[in-house]
Symmetry: C2
Subunit: 147 residues, 2 copies
DNA sequence: ATCGCTTTGAGAACGATTCTCATTCACAGT
DNA sequence: ACTGTGAATGAGAATCGTTCTCAAAGCGAT
């Protein structure tokens, strides 16, 4: 079930785009909320029991509405998670280049501050309008190093 | 033409995997070396005049051999560039979410140091074997902000 | 209950990537 | 140079993830 605290703000964000919080979208969001990690479209479809074509469409709409964030996996399909405004806190990703699994991690506040500062200077420096940054670490996860 | 300075080390890296530096692979690498930015598979095929199926295969092998790096674009096809060991220097990317173009930028040494430190601690902290990190900034490039 | 609009779902369509396999090529040994 | 062996090639088929299509169903307001 989608937690009601999230539901409220989701409804608002959807309303802006004249989208409704239907049972399917609820199920998709609930899957993302309870998933331990960013999920592929396929995983969302299975976890939510919503047909794939609808999951594709819903995820696209939710990303568009800023409720869901797309995470670049190692290969084979993008992954999705609740956008930061709708989940716990700012974090980054550990991407396993072997099995493709993506897990979260939170870097130090110091690093975060420095990144913000650096990124904030880009518009003036190179005329690039920043929407967000990605700081991912790639390598082999605990399971895959056991082989 | 692929610069001879690179060619030498490429041959070595290829030899480890029993791969040869053929005319096609030369052309693919030359395209990446002279491209101003990370290129899509299609762009490499055109620039090098090598058939797409061969470009796909060659890029995969070169990535596998650590000679080429895959860069996650905004959408529509991954992009490729020479791996850092074979190109000028360490850098990161500005990815335009509008047109998909990827350009390079170099963050401050201070940020780089802090990232290294943080990333270096991960193996002990969470049992993740780090191969490299990705620090990309997403937004709209100069051209796309003009619309 | 009715109207107008959004949403849905099954399958078709599409595009990027991978696979297949007969042919060609590169290098090592002679 | 000549030959043998495994690597590399290329054209098209096959595959896989994603998007599109369209008729049917759902939701909210009147």
């Amino acid at each position: 079930m989608l937690s009601s605290s999230i539901a409220a703000s989701v409804v608002q964000a959807l309303a802006v785009r004249e989208l409704r919080l239907t049972a399917n979208r609820r199920a998709v969001l609930a899957a993302l909320e309870h998933g331990q990690r960013p999920l592929t479209t396929e995983e969302v479809a299975v976890a939510s029991s919503v047909p794939v074509s609808t999951v594709y469409r819903n995820l696209a709409e939710l990303v568009e509405a800023g409720i869901v964030a797309r995470v670049a996996g190692a290969s084979g399909g993008d992954r999705h998670e609740l956008a930061e405004a709708f989940s716990e806190h700012h974090h980054h990703h550990l991407v396993c280049i072997e099995c493709g699994i993506v897990t979260d991690f939170t870097p130090s506040a110091q690093l975060e501050r420095l990144i913000e500062k650096e990124v904030g200077a880009l518009p003036d420096r190179v005329g690039f309008e920043v929407t967000h940054h990605v700081f991912d670490v790639r390598g082999r996860c605990r399971d895959c190093t056991r082989t």
